[in-house]
């Protein structure tokens, strides 16, 4: 008991140090993100002069207007930007279409497979599941080149949405595994009752299992949506055409076209700020769920 009291008495200083540390961590996490936004709203000339100001210097919307295509390329160059810039709306549309379609297919088809693995009996079930688990361990680099060749030659799906979407539309090993774990934890009784009422397996799946699994399904969907949204190399390789660029690809192209010696920082950071918005929205709406999902993945 005496030792307990001693540690309790020591808490105040300890607590202060701890909270200073936590504050520093939060600051280091958030400040760079603010610096991006701050630069996006700063005017070209002022960025060079006033490099230290925490607020936007020479506040302006011009960088955003330029990135959103509200100026002609002559006007953009006159402002110190580049003629090429970035087509934000195109990137947003492509990213949205690709990520949304991918997770809709992936979540539904993976849920079907996961349900079969969790509840139905069939031959080679355990062997097949083991194969899926093995695939989870294979790093992406192994399948990258063969999948590219599949798209470029056999399927001829270059420069198409389906080329970008297909590889993770029908399943990812992680999605099947994640949902199977969840389905295993659902109480059998509801299904048994539905079965006695003469419900068929698809009906049980659609009307009993899926509604009970909304939290798990949405958690998975958020994680996989972000994964797709953040992806760079695959959409870059498959969507070579300008009209197929996702936001990440568009940003990378924008950066590669900006002059090496004097990059268009204002424009780049305005583009980055705009690209941040969707993630921030997801973060604000689903942040808690994302935290819980991550904590769950640690125990798979």
């Amino acid at each position: 008991m005496t030792t307990m009291k001693k540690t309790k008495a020591g808490i105040p200083t300890q607590k202060i140090i701890a909270w200073v540390a936590i504050s520093i961590i939060i600051l280091v996490t958030l400040f760079p993100v603010w610096w991006v936004v701050r630069t996006g709203f700063s005017s070209k000339q002022e960025i060079y002069v006033d490099t230290f100001n925490l607020l936007p210097v020479g506040p302006t919307m011009n960088n955003f207007k330029r990135v959103l295509g509200m100026f002609t390329s002559e006007e953009a160059v006159a402002q110190g930007g580049t003629a090429s810039g970035m087509d934000f709306w195109m990137g947003l549309k492509n990213s949205l279409v690709i990520s949304t379609t991918t997770i809709l297919g992936q979540t539904f088809f993976s849920a079907m497979a996961a349900y079969a693995f969790a509840r139905l009996k069939f031959r080679f079930r355990d062997q097949l599941f083991f194969l899926y688990l093995t695939a989870m361990m294979i790093p992406g680099v192994v399948t990258l080149v063969p999948n590219y060749i599949l798209m470029a030659r056999e399927l001829q799906w270059m420069n198409t949405y389906r080329g970008i979407i297909a590889p993770s539309f029908l399943m990812t090993p992680f999605a099947v595994f994640f949902l199977r774990q969840f389905f295993l934890s659902i109480n059998h009784e509801l299904e048994e009752a539905a079965k006695l009422d003469g419900a068929s397996i698809p009906l049980i799946f659609l009307q009993v299992i899926l509604p009970l699994s909304v939290p798990a399904l949405s958690t998975l969907a958020i994680l996989q949506f972000l994964g797709n949204w953040n992806d760079y190399l695959w959409p870059f390789l498959i969507g070579k055409d300008e009209t197929m660029r996702t936001l990440t690809v568009g940003l990378a192209v924008f950066q590669s076209q900006t002059p090496q010696g004097a990059p268009d920082w204002g424009g780049l950071m305005a583009g980055t700020t705009l690209s941040l918005i969707p993630t921030i929205i997801i973060f604000l709406v689903f942040g808690r769920r994302a935290v819980n999902a991550i904590q769950f993945t640690g125990f798979r």
Binding site: T7, W19, I25, M171, I294, G298
Partner: protein
């Protein structure tokens, strides 16, 4: 009698439904995971530029790989990155996790800490490219205002790799901390109370209780972050493109160059297989070393 055949036909229909449910995932698995993996392996024994048909050349690619100085350089650079990245990231994350576990259960703070991990690599890289800009970047402004010389960071052979490692620590430390935090939450509190009664101090409790009981999560974190770390690519596209003077030309970049710049698909596949073998070996060693399948909680 009738009920029996009824049951059997019900079982048979179960069986049919099961395969129907599995079917889409099997197609996806075969077409985009299983077959490409096998194909990648087969390609590694060929010479293929996509224009002419692939030519089987046996182990020639592997022989070439062993004597390929550029590949060895890429491996060395990648290993250097992993060594800079993983230990520091894990220690920082562990510190953050302990802080969270001890002082706050706030989901909002945990949410803020995973924010960098939610952002695309491309955005994180752009963000730090700007922060670390040699002339205008905020970090250099701070360094100079403190009276030191400005640093080249990504523009220098010596600093480029440590800088990229630091950028990725910024992106992943919070995420890793949340994983470890979840592990800490699972350690029964009465173990600490018992140790405190026995007179154990903070350090002894951390070394004697926290670390051993955290082992399963710690292994998961180490294995996955190590595999991820060996595949560093997006950050390099934005920041250094393999430079300066090949200082950040990692294995993944080397594969990319062979496959999509030089269109030597066979050799690119060979490097991929080699990287895969290296990763498997490291994972197995890690599992063995830590006795991954046992937990001290049992």
């Amino acid at each position: 009698m009738t009920t029996r055949t009824g049951l059997r036909s019900a079982q048979r229909s179960d069986f049919a439904w099961a395969w129907l449910f599995i079917l889409p995932s099997i197609i996806g698995f075969l077409v985009f995971f299983a077959v490409p993996s096998v194909r990648g392996l087969l390609m590694s024994f060929t010479n293929w530029d996509l224009l002419r048909p692939a030519k089987f050349i046996g182990l020639a690619n592997y022989a070439k790989l062993l004597g390929d100085k550029e590949f060895l350089h890429a491996l060395r650079v990648t290993a250097y990155y992993v060594v800079l990245n993983i230990p520091l990231q894990t220690v920082i994350a562990l510190g953050m996790a302990v802080l969270l576990d001890r002082f706050t259960k706030s989901t909002m703070i945990r949410g803020i800490l995973i924010l960098p991990w939610l952002l695309p690599n491309i955005i994180v890289a752009l963000l730090w490219l700007w922060m670390l800009d040699p002339t205008l970047g905020f970090i250099n402004q701070v360094i100079m205002s403190l009276g030191f010389e400005r640093q080249p960071f990504l523009g220098s052979v010596d600093q480029a790799m440590p800088t990229i490692a630091a950028i990725n620590i910024w992106r992943h430390a919070g995420y890793t901390a949340i994983l470890l935090f979840a592990g800490l939450q699972n350690i029964p509190k009465d173990v600490y109370e018992a140790a405190a009664i026995d007179g154990a101090d903070e350090r002894q409790m951390f070394m004697g209780i926290t670390l051993p009981l955290l082992r399963p999560v710690l292994i998961f974190v180490l294995v996955t972050s190590l595999i991820g770390s060996f595949q560093i690519f997006d950050t390099i596209v934005i920041t250094t493109k393999g430079g300066p003077v090949d200082a950040t030309r990692v294995v993944y970049w080397y594969i990319y160059e062979y496959a999509f710049v030089r269109f030597k698909m066979g050799y690119a596949a060979t490097i991929s297989v080699a990287l895969f073998l290296i990763l498997i070996t490291i994972t197995v060693i890690q599992m063995r070393y830590f006795n991954a399948d046992t937990s001290d909680l049992d």
